[in-house]
């Protein structure tokens, strides 16, 4: 399963909460996440790492694409 999940523009802590909920629904696979602030990128990456999931962050202009593999 691979889809792009848009959490741009959401206030803290909604990006990390929504991504965590989405990943909880996912048994295994990859989730692509679009974020627009460094804080959201850092929080989501830390949450994923703490759960043992692999995170790859790509800068796309002023936004970031996070590829999280569970």
């Amino acid at each position: 399963m691979s889809e792009k999940f848009d959490v741009r523009g959401l206030s803290c802590p909604l990006p990390v909460v929504k991504v965590k909920n989405k990943l909880t629904e996912l048994e295994t696979g990859t989730l692509k996440v679009l974020v627009d602030t460094g804080t959201a990128k850092d929080n989501i990456s830390r949450m994923a790492n703490n759960n043992g999931w692999k995170v790859e962050a790509k800068e796309q202009g002023e936004e970031y694409l996070l590829i999280i593999t569970k």
Binding site: G9, S11, P13, V17, D36
Partner: protein
């Protein structure tokens, strides 16, 4: 490890917390009020007084710490390409949340930062405030889990991101030149906490460093507790614990540690309202996404919604003193308890109406 990621290590957040704790106690030694080396709510209240938004003569001063927090974060955001002017996420709701957060903070007599510093100086009353803060944050988490959402922000024209930093430069000039108009403004206290301050340049420099580092590390005293409860993340919590321990040790070394409940500086012993005030503040900060310091750092990043929250706090400070909701050493102000109750009702209404709870209720009734 890139420089960007280096700031996000556990070691750096611990150093950041320790630096803030030590800096606050040193600022107190250099002249800031007791157990108030840094207090975002109190210092914004002092700025409101200096500008004449309230006339409580003992709490009027332009605090360079607030200015430094915003400008330090601005410098970091510009250097690391994180200055992104944005806004439009329920600004008026955020203004009200800022207003209510200030009302609650001034009933307790301090924001989350000062609650920690009061405890580190031996003020046992702070324990009730911190308990209230955690209770308020927990209620906020309930709403977040129930889908509370202020809506997405959008990229806005660059000028919007520069508004609060520009206001900060403006009031810094008022502080430097000590402008005196025939009306009496700018007002500077000649007695009381407002007359106690560290040298301007030192305070500004320390605050610039804190603003810079806090923007990089995402330091936030409310998210510290929120993230532990909500997502089991202890990153920010270790920073806050580090602040508390460092300030406590520094207070002992500097001879500023005086344990007890009675006669604590700029504090009262009405524990129910120490608790209640901070329930309101904790809830309002959580619904708005961060502590008062974090709102200043976000403003430095160009987040105009956070700036609106800050302006709401300053407006709230004016109201709190003009309408006797602010506490003093003697206890809560005449209308303080009523203001906390009304504030809580407003926050609960927002929580229910702006989350999925309202939808569920509608579905049930259909």
């Amino acid at each position: 490890m890139s420089l960007k990621n280096w700031f996000l290590s556990r070691k750096i957040i611990i150093i950041t917390g320790a630096f803030i704790g030590i800096a606050a106690t040193v600022l107190q030694k250099l002249g800031n009020p007791a157990n108030m080396g840094i207090c975002v709510a109190c210092f914004e209240r002092d700025i409101a007084g200096a500008l004449g938004f309230h006339r409580a003569a003992v709490v009027q001063y332009i605090r360079p710490e607030i200015i430094g927090f915003v400008l330090g974060a601005l410098i970091a955001a510009l250097l690391f390409k994180e200055f992104k002017p944005r806004g439009g996420s329920s600004p008026l709701i955020r203004f009200v949340l800022g207003f209510l957060a200030m009302i609650g903070s001034l009933v307790f007599l301090g924001c989350p930062w000062r609650a920690l510093l009061r405890l580190s100086g031996g003020d046992g009353n702070a324990l009730f405030g911190i308990a209230g803060l955690v209770a308020g944050i927990s209620i906020g988490i309930f709403f977040i889990k129930s889908g509370f959402d202020l809506g997405r922000n959008q990229r806005v024209r660059p000028l919007a991101g520069w508004v609060l930093p520009s206001i900060m430069v403006g009031i810094l000039l008022l502080l430097i030149f000590r402008t005196q108009l025939p009306t009496g403004a700018v007002f500077f206290s000649s007695e009381g906490p407002g007359s106690q301050y560290a040298p301007v340049l030192i305070a500004l420099l320390i605050a610039l460093i804190i603003g810079f580092v806090a923007q990089r590390t995402r330091f936030c005293t409310v998210a510290a507790a929120r993230d532990v409860i909500l997502i089991k993340d202890t990153y920010l919590f270790t920073g806050v614990v580090s602040l508390l321990i460092a300030a406590w040790i520094s207070n002992i070394i500097l001879g500023q540690f005086n344990p007890g409940f009675q006669g604590q500086p700029v504090a009262h012993t009405s524990q129910i309202w120490n608790f209640g005030g901070m329930v309101l503040a904790g809830l309002a900060f959580t619904l708005a996404g961060g502590c008062p310091g974090r709102q200043l750092f976000l403003s430095g990043e160009g987040d105009s919604d956070a700036s609106v929250f800050v302006l709401g706090m300053i407006f709230g400070a004016g109201f709190a003193h003009n309408f006797a909701t602010s506490s003093s050493g003697a206890g809560p102000g005449t209308w303080g308890p009523a203001a906390v109750i009304v504030g809580l009702i407003i926050c609960l209404l927002m929580g229910f109406s702006m989350s999925d709870l309202a939808k569920k209720k509608k579905e049930v009734s259909v």
